[in-house]
Structures are given as C-alpha cells and as structure tokens.
Amino acid sequence: MVLLDRNTVYLEVQEVETDAARIKDLRVTIGGIRGLAPAVPRGPMPMPGPGTLRRWDRKLLSRYRPFYMPFCELCCLCTFGKCDLSGGRKGACGITMNAQQSRIVLLACCIGAATHTAHAREILDHIVSRFGERHPLDTGGSQIDITAPITRLVCGFEPQTVGDLDRALRYAENQITQLLAATHTGQEGDYLDLESKVFHAGMVDHLGMEIADISQVSAYSFPRADADAPLVELGMASVDTKKPVILVVGHNVVPSVGILEYARENDLLGSIEVTGICCTSLDLTRYSEKAKIIGPISWQLRYIRSGIPSVVVVDEQCVRTDLPDECRAVRAPVIATSDKNALGLPDRTGDPADEIVEDLVSGRVTGVLLRDPDIVGEVAVKTANHVFEKRKGITAIPPGESVTASAGECTHCSFCQRACPAELPLVEVIREAGAGDTGALASLYDLCIGCGRCESACPRGLPLHSFIISASCERIRDEKFSIRSGRGAISDVEIREVGGPIVLGEIPGIVAFVGCSNFPRGGSELASMCREFARRRFIVCTSGCAAITAGQYRNDEGKTLYEEFSGKFEAGGVLNVGSCVSNAHISGAAIKIAAIFAKRELDGNYEEIADYVHNRVGAVGVAWGAMSQKAAAIASGFWRLGIPVIVGPHGSKYRRMLLGRADHPDDWKVNDARTGEEVCIGPVPEHLFVAAETAEEAMVLVAKLSMRPNDTTRGRSIKCTHYIDLHRRLYGTMPGDIHLFIRNPADVPLTFKDEIWAHLEAHGWKEQPVPDPTLLEPKGRRVKGGKPK
C-alpha cells in the first residue's frame, strides 16, 4: 500500500517474497513522524470524503426527515438575488427552499467546524513549537489505551504524539474546504445531499475538537480522565477585588496560560486575580486551580461593567464584538490575542513589553493586538498592576437611586421588550423601577441572557441591562460557587465498568448538557434538569457554558451539582468534561463503548461504529441554550453517530429539525443480525434533532430518546419507568404512546403494570421480537473475536 499526501509518503508492505528476499510488515514513512503505531490509515473507510458516508447518512435521513422552518425565505448570496424561494419558487440558480435551508445549515456547521479546527490548528502549532512534535499524547496514563477515539475512527490511524495529529488536522482542514465549496452557487442542489454534508461537517468538527483538547491536555497537564478533578471557584463574588484582576474571555487557553506562567515566574500569582468567562476560563482552571470562573458568555457585560476587571484579554470565539467599547467605558485596557479576532486594535506584537504597558496605562491606546502569548502574559500582568489603583471605583453600573431616576424617563414604548430574545417583561419592570421599586428588575437577573439588545433598541439610550445588574447587587454579592474542573476524557476502565449496563439499558442513559447560555428562562432550568437525571441514575455529562451554568445553583443543602454528585462516568455521576472542545470526549465515550466493550474494530470504521452507537448506546445531547454555529456543528457530529440532540425553543432558529414519525411503523425497521430478517423495533430513538418548548418537555424527551432497539427487557422496563414517571409528574398523564415502546410483557414496568396493560389492550398491542439490531447489512460485521455484543 502506498499513500501520498502533500507532505508525506507512506509505504506499507504486508508480505512480499522474491528470489532475493522475503519482506514482512515493512512500513516506511518519508516526510512525517510516527511512533510505534502504524501511520497508514486502516479500516474500511479511513479519512472519508464528503460523499463516502452518504449511504449511512441517507439511512438516518430516511428515518429522521428534515423539517425545514425557513428563518429567511429569500436567498441573497449572489447578484441574481434577492430570490424569493417561498411558495415553491426556485431561485435564479434553480435552488429550492429546502435546499437553501440545508445549505444555510451546512454553512453554519462549516463555520462551527472551521472554528474548532482553526482553534485546534493554533493550539497544535503552538504546542509543537513549544514542546516538540514528539511530545507524547497522554489523556489518562495507564487508564487509557484509546487516546484519540475520533481520530482513529475517522482517520484510521492511531496518533501517539502531538506531531502525529498534524495529519488528522490537515485532513479536517481539507474536508471543511470541500464542504464549504459545496455551498457555492450552482454546486450541491439536493437537500438530502446537503444534509449528508452537514453530518460530514459535524464529524469533522468532532475530530477538530478532539485534536484541540487532547493536545492541550497532553501538553499542559490538565486533569487526565480524572473523576476527582479539583473543585474550583465560580462566580463574581469569588474574586478578591483588593487585587488587580485580569479577565480572559473566549476559548483559546494559550494566551491565558502565558499570563499564569508569567505571574508564576515572577512570583506574582498570589498578588493578582486571573478570572475568566466562557471556555477559556474552563480550560484555565484545568491548567491552574488558582484561576477563577466568572460565568458563561452571558456574564460578559455584567462583569466588565462592574469595573472589577483591571485588564481584559480576549482570544477567540463567542467574544462580544463590541467588547473594546465596553472596556473603554470602564477604562479597562483590552488586549486582543488572535489574528481571527483583532478587534481593530493596533498590532504591537514586536514592540518592547514595557512600552506597550506604558501606552495602555497612560491611555494613549485603549487596547492592543498581541499575537505572542508570552508577551500577552507580561503585558497583561504589568498593566493590571499599574492600572489597578488608578481605576479604583470605576464602574458602569449605575447606583440604585440613579436607576430609579433614569427609569422614570422611560416612555414605555416597548421597543426594549420587543427586542429581547427571552421576551422579558421589561416595560413593566422599568415602570415599577421608575416608581421606586427595583425588586422586579432584580428578578430578571437570572433570566437575562446578557445580549444587550434591549439597550440597543431603547430610543432614550437607557442602559437597561445595567439597571438589572444594579438592582441585583445583593444577589451578586452571594454569587460564589464550586465547579469541578474539566476532567477530560472518559477512561477505558470506566467504559469497561459501565459499557454493559449502558448497552443493555440498565443504566437508563447518558445525557450530555452542552452548549451556550441562550436560555429561554434562565440557567436554573438547566441545573434542575442535570440534577433530575443524576438522581435518576443517568450518567450526566456537562461541557462549556452549560457546565458553568450547572454549577451556579445549589441544592437545599447548599451544594452545587459538582459537590453533590461524583465526577465519575457512572450511574448518577455528573461530569464536567471541560470546554467546548472537550465535547469530543462525550462522543468519544460513545465510540469507545463500541470499541472497548463490544470489541468492534475502531480504525476507519465509521459506519459500523455509528450503527452500533445508534442502536445500542442510549445517549442524548441537550443544548438547552444553544446559540452559535459551533453548537450546530457539535450537534451534527452527534447526529452522524445517530445520537439525538434536544435544543431549547431558541434552537428552532437553526431552521430545521430532524424528526422521526412514530406513526409510520415502516420507518422503524432494522435488520436482525442473528436471523438476517427485517424487524420492527418501534420509534427508538424517535427524533434526531428536536426543539423542546419547555424544560419539562425536554425532560420527558430525554427519557424517551434514551431508548434503543438493543435494550434488554430489564433495561427497557427501567427506561419506560423513567419515561412514564416523568410524564405523569410533569404532564399529569400516562404517555399516550407507551404502547410503542413495550415489545413484550417483560418490558412492562411493574409499578405501572395494570395501567399499562389496559393501555396496551386499548391500542391492539402485539408482542414484538427483540432483535440484534443493525441498519447495515447483517453480514460484513467486523468483530474482534467472540459474539457480537
């Protein structure tokens, strides 16, 4: 086998016998680095192109058909346009409404995948330059044999060093370019083929995330599959405001590591506070327990306006684009650190650090772009120390009496309320505040997503978000919590322990709360959902802003979720895997269940592993506050593995759902690998992507979407018990579709036996076999020894 790419030649000879010599297992790599493992991609589908997995995607899409909800009915991407695609019209290029919607979804997922992949590129290049390309990958020491499950599944080779990841990353970069090209005018026009490419973008996104996270875990000694990762501080009240405070915002931890390294080297760690918002803060606390997390992305305005941060350092992704303006208002110097997010600031990378500090402290410049993380560290720490005394007392949050006076100027035009994505009753609370009662304003603190659209809409320029913060000062004084630092991967040992109970259905499900903080009714619903499912002995994973939000609420005993539950991948565990890029460990765990527990071939074997995960691993994603294109890409990576994702009501703005039809029995057939026969398995899981209106609806859906065709009767009985119990508690009734999930009498939960039997009889229920389910042809399974599990 000979494999060529742009930089490397791989030659592999399994066995050759000539008159002169006999050669066996000869492998030569020219232009690349490799360790002991073969660098030659293996498996049936290594490094798939955009069309390679089309057959698998079509199987999923024939069951979970797209339901398009055009967010815009026009196409304005070319100079033919605007083209009105409504009412069955076609665009000037011939595109239909469905294709246009899936095209936009693909664009969103390409943006998301590109963002994680570019992030991975920055991290990998930095780590290779700092630690060398032979730096070993280590995500869990002896606890982990499969270090890079997604890389192996997608690319078909096992990386052992950070240098090995470069090849996988180049593949990801190439695929994103291919996918983006497919969205050009006059390219892909079939909506299902576009949807298949959406799945491909998602798969590539998870690959990019994995590369980013295992690189940084390996290089920076983050917690490595550590169920007992330290508890770190969270919340605005955790900050010691007597010290200079640095705020880091974004997702790329490298510049922030530069800050901590500089402070440590200069013995300043004890005299400054390094705080963070969003994923950078999560990753920074994985690097050092001394760093503090302030909150999710919705905390940007409230924290900066509080005046607490002396200096604001931004890297990339999900950073407010008006952040320099906000920083200027509180005279906090801002330091941009990424080429992708230069914010119009002057590039001072080559200048002496002290000169830059002097300019920032004097106010000659309000911000700078520094593209070297080491310089960022020095400039940020020195500047924070210098401006600290000068900035004392500066805040953009008005005092209470000022709020009352300003609120009195409100004309109640309702523009603020009509601009609010969360539909908060701003008109009424401002009216009350104007009359001297700011209690109602304070009640919005938890519900406000901090977007600031209300202020932008106000014709009188009232700082309405600041009013809410001002009215909530008592609440903020108490805002101090604990969150478990991101633990990283799930260990192989944990997978071995829970693989059986998950696949057999005895652990009712893995539920991953991921994504942003665009919550419909505040973060408390998310924390309640996490607690509900942990108490029900699901395995609860969290990541990103959802992980932070989950830590912002206490139980009756004053404990946060991370103090109340174990951090182990076990029934009833609540695991913060880390930042956005750590989401790869959640999909990676599902993949490892197939590879470790069931011994399915992993390398380059996407279709079979996805088929296994879809039919057997009762995992569900919940992106309750999903906002970004990255969240869309993360979801689509789960979809290709056949893992359902539930979003909150705002998620409907992603403009298409992937919904099954429980009332179409023919849609729910699988092949029985034991007999080769086609068997009906009921609508499990019923949907692949669905927006829930309320948290109650989401909880009922989680229980339902955790069911899988492979559930044993005991497992299905447990899952049905949770479904029925939640439905009865939250809706007050027995689920009307329970007959679709009972396959034989042993599936019937004992607790509800009589009621269920009456229901089954009323619906003409018939017993169904429990197959060894697969959507693939039963033959051609590749199992390493033993019976299929």
Binding site: F67, Y68, M69, P70, F71, C72, E73, L74, D84, L85, S86, G87, G88, M97, F415, R418, A419, P421, E423, L424, P425, E428, R453, A457, P520, P649, H650, S652, K653, R655, M657, L659, R661, D663, H687, V690, A691, A692, E693, T694, E696, E697, L701, L730, Y731, G732, T733, P735, G736
Partner: protein, 179 residues
C-alpha cells in the same frame, strides 16, 4: 392599511405576510369553512400569570365550543386538564408541525388531515419558525397565530393587540360561533 411590524423586532419574513384578523367574523368564517381544525396550545400564553390564565381559559372555551381538536405542547397539558379538557395529543410542537406538513397525516384524532390550525402560547421565536415551516411545507394548510402578537408567517394573525382587546376578540368569536 399598512401591515403591523412583527411583535419581536426584525422578525420579518419574505414577500407574503399574514392577513390581519380585524374582527371575530374572520375567525368565525375560517372555522365555518374548515373541515378539520386543530389547535396547538403552548405553555407560554403570556409572561403575566393573570393574563396567561385568562388567555388559556378563553382559547380552551373557544376550542370546546367549536369542537376543535387539541394538541398541548410543553406542560400546557396540565393547564388544559385543570380546565376539564383532555388534549387529543401531547406531542411536542415541532413534532406536531412536522406532521401537519404531511398531507397524508391522519391527524391527532385519526379523522384525517387538518386543514386549519390555530397556534397559541409558544415562545414568539419558536412559533414564528414553526409557522414558517408550515407556510412553506404545508401550503394548503391555513395557519392562524392566535396570540395577540403579529406573526407575519401565519396565514392570519392579530395585529399586536392589547390583552383586553385580544380577550374581547376571542370571547366575541366564541359567542359568534355559538349562535
């Protein structure tokens, strides 16, 4: 008459916008013409609990009087049952909209496809997108946004009414169809 702006800023749609329900006669006429109407009730009639309560009472009374099949999304089923009405289905709103876009769907009650749907009580943005899905995916279906806010993606919508105006309109419709 110029059309009102969508209640939520910037939620404009394409070239066709909802007709305005100017009086109870419009709703009564739509109901009279419909063969198999459906009402999809969400959980969020209003942020104001008192208004939400009144709104739900009014639309449930309308549904009962007009014999409209009912889907309760979210936890609205609890509110409906408290008012003595068992919804025909409790499927999520997105699932309901998807099925409505299938002309062969047997309907929530198994009596055949629906030709008219009233939607009320969903978060504005969610209702907006679902209505868009139906507008484009179910062109034969008449959609009525029954909230007091203007929803341009519906076939018919109220024009950002005050709660009391809206309540009067629904109550009057119920009276008209009950004659």
């Amino acid at each position: 008459m110029t059309r009102p702006a969508p209640w939520q800023t910037a939620e404009t749609c394409g070239t066709r916008q909802a007709g305005i329900i100017k009086g109870p006669q419009v709703l009564a006429a739509l109901l009279k013409k419909a063969r198999h109407p459906l009402m999809l009730v969400g959980n969020q009639g209003s942020r104001d609990p008192e208004e939400a309560d009144e709104a739900l009472n009014a639309v449930i009374f309308l549904a009962q009087k007009a014999g409209i099949s009912l889907v309760a999304s979210g936890k609205a089923v609890l509110s409906c049952r408290e008012r003595g009405l068992s919804p025909d289905s409790t499927i999520p709103a997105t699932d309901c909209a998807n099925r409505l876009s299938d002309p062969a769907w047997a309907g929530v009650d198994g009596k055949g496809p629906h030709d008219l749907v009233f939607i009320i009580g969903l978060p504005y943005g969610m209702e907006w997108t679902l209505l868009s899905g139906l507008k484009n995916g179910a062109p034969a279906l008449i959609t009525v946004a029954l909230d007091r806010y203007y929803h341009p993606q519906a076939s018919w919508s109220f024009a950002n009414l005050a709660h009391h105006e809206w309540l009067e309109m629904i109550s009057e419709t119920t009276r008209v169809i009950g004659r």
